[in-house]
């Protein structure tokens, strides 16, 4: 009799202790060759503190690169499903390639949140929510900002033409600038110059040399901003050519502080990682949901007027 009681008691105890709050979450994002995802990871790891305190876990799955982005992400989502996770937080830059894998995960009872890309496909995906900015809107605001700041001929550098989110950004820049009354065009560079600071700098310099009427350059990544600054600086045009970029980095913020860069567009990657993981865990554990969907974490423009607040975050790698 006592023995039976002990067994039953042990079984009940293990069931309640084990399964009550234990959200095992997978975060599926882009390559760690791209410094941007490091900030997203910082946010996710901060959320993981809560997740792990409640007995769960966070697994981070990253693609090798962007060359085969859609299919690679689909494979990672399937990997997470096979691992038997409770929730997947994923980017959705290529819906056609990824939606089947996401649907399969949801059919297996896994909850999904989206981050960084794919806000248009939120409803179709069946995900709980989307945390990120809208690329086109961010580009639009960037183009508008530079035009209001006095630019008349804007160049938008695209380091991997054909990537949907980057193309949308430059489209936004062109539209935002045009509607505010300036000229703007995209500069698509061959993908073999991606991440090549010296090569990109030389290419942008060639464009500036060839068309002296260009008075603003906007880049879609911070390493490209370094390259563009190198080009603008060597031509001695830091006073005449405005520089803007997507995302933040220590060198970008130093330049904004020093006045050699006009602005940076912040999509707050920290929140993308933090919110996508924490809301997913809360939904798995407690069934809560945020009423607004999608949740826009950007665009927020960082310029000389609000630069000082960002430095602490930059030191910690969270901005």
């Amino acid at each position: 009799m006592n023995f039976k009681k002990t067994i039953v008691g042990a079984v009940v105890a293990s069931m309640t202790a084990g399964s009550a709050m234990a959200a095992d979450i997978a975060l599926v994002i882009g390559s760690n060759q791209d410094a941007f995802w490091n900030v997203v990871k910082k946010g996710a790891e901060d959320a993981a503190v809560l997740v792990e305190a409640r007995g769960g876990s966070l697994t981070i799955l990253q693609t090798q690169g962007y060359e085969n982005y859609g299919p690679d992400l689909a494979v990672l989502i399937e990997q997470a499903t096979a691992q038997g996770v409770d929730g997947i937080a994923t980017v959705l830059p290529v819906p056609e390639a990824q939606l089947p894998a996401i649907k399969a995960a949801i059919d297996a009872g896994i909850k999904v949140t989206l981050l960084n890309g794919g806000s248009d496909a939120l409803e179709e995906s069946g995900a709980l929510n989307y945390f990120g900015s809208e690329e086109y809107t961010a580009g639009y605001e960037g183009g508008k900002y530079l035009t209001m700041a006095g630019a008349k001929n804007i160049l938008c550098h695209n380091q991997t033409p054909g990537t949907a989110n980057l193309d949308a950004r430059c489209r936004g820049v062109v539209d935002g600038a045009t509607e505010a009354g300036a000229n703007a065009r995209e500069l698509p560079l061959p993908a073999n110059l991606d991440q090549d600071v010296a090569g990109t700098s030389a290419a942008i310099e060639a464009e500036l040399n060839g068309d002296p009427s260009i008075d603003a350059v906007i880049t879609l990544a911070t390493w490209a901003a370094d390259a563009a600054y190198g080009a603008i600086d060597s031509l001695g045009k830091t006073d005449t050519v405005k520089l803007g970029t997507f995302d933040l980095s220590p060198s970008t913020l130093d330049r904004i502080k020093a006045g050699t860069q006009a602005m940076a567009i912040d999509q707050t990657p920290y929140y993308q990682g933090f919110l996508s993981v924490s809301t997913l865990a809360a939904n798995i554990d407690f069934g809560t949901k945020i009423a607004t969907a999608p949740v826009l974490t950007g665009p927020a423009i960082v310029d000389a007027s609000n630069i000082d607040a960002t430095f602490a975050g930059v030191e910690a790698g969270t901005r």
């Binding site: 760690n32 060759q33 791209d34 410094a35 490091n38 900030v39 910082k42 033409p161 500069l187 698509p188 560079l189 061959p190 993908a191 073999n192 110059l193 991606d194 991440q195 090549d196 600071v197 010296a198 090569g199 700098s201 030389a202 290419a203 310099e205 060639a206 464009e207 040399n209 060839g210 068309d211 911070t222 390493w223 370094d226 390259a227 600054y229 190198g230 060597s234 980095s249 220590p250 060198s251 130093d254 030191e315 910690a316 790698g317 969270t318």
Partner: protein
Amino acid sequence: MSDTIQIAKNSKPKASRLSVGELMRSPAMGAFVGMVLVFCIFAAFGFHKNFLSLAGIANWMNFASMIGIVAIPVGFLMIAGELDISVGAIMPASAMTLGILCGPYELPLGLGMLITFAMAAGIGWINGILVTRTQVPSFIVTLATLFAVGGLTLTLSVIFVNRPQVAYEAPELAKALLGDRYFGFRASVFWWILLSAALYFVLHKSPWGNWIFAVGGDAESARNAGIPVNRLKISLFVLSALCTAFAGMLQVAAFNSAQSATNFPLIFNTIIACVVGGVLLTGGFGTLIGIFFGTMTLGVVQQGIGYTDIDRNLSQLIIGVMLLAAVLMNGTFQKLATSWSTSKKED
């Protein structure tokens, strides 16, 4: 006695004719002609956008110099029959090491550079030891090192500075020597030319150069002839790593920042520069001047498109076609060089 003096005097005109002919037949001539060909094409298409100006030339020379500094020791290894693809990871590793040590950790620049060089030499040494002590081909060994060093760079960067990038502004003198521009040409161009001249003497005028060619031709025969094959290969891997580290430092000085992303394009670009410059992928053949012109050709082709009105989406197509044209030109000259027989005239 007087007869021999007469013959010696008579042979002078022949000697000068032979030397021009020799120049035309030298393998480097193919690389030179290839470069002139692509240069002329882009000069024609890009004339209205100042391709032919000093700034235009400096533009692609700056780009070429960053590849050139790494391409030469990579070319040496190719001549010796090995490949080094770990350069793609050594460059960001060195840039990040220098940036982190001298930026947030505020070490003096000289000390930072020494530590960075030592680290790179260590990686090169590991490459060399693994290639010479195991039967694993150098492509695989350096591929492994590429990924290992790349992963370490990323992890250590995040541990030390919380992100995989770092900002660093070098002091005045260092900037003047390593990063600034003179008449539009970056300091890296001058270092590239200096390095090329120094390594020209090593490859073509010193016993080490002979050893490199011998080892590339037939390593066993070279070993039997008394050449220290293993030590030579290890030194070449160390040289490759050191030059790559230097290129990384120049980049930090010029752009005030470093990224830890592995520079995969650098691997392709250096091999392309060597092959376009006449170095055989199978080893045993190549010239330093050829590598130099091959790098210039790559620079012109990569950057020249920016000066034309051609749709930028066609860029990669044009790069492919131009490189093929340059290599075909090169091949023609190499055939001439190896098959030309001088006519022997009897006096």
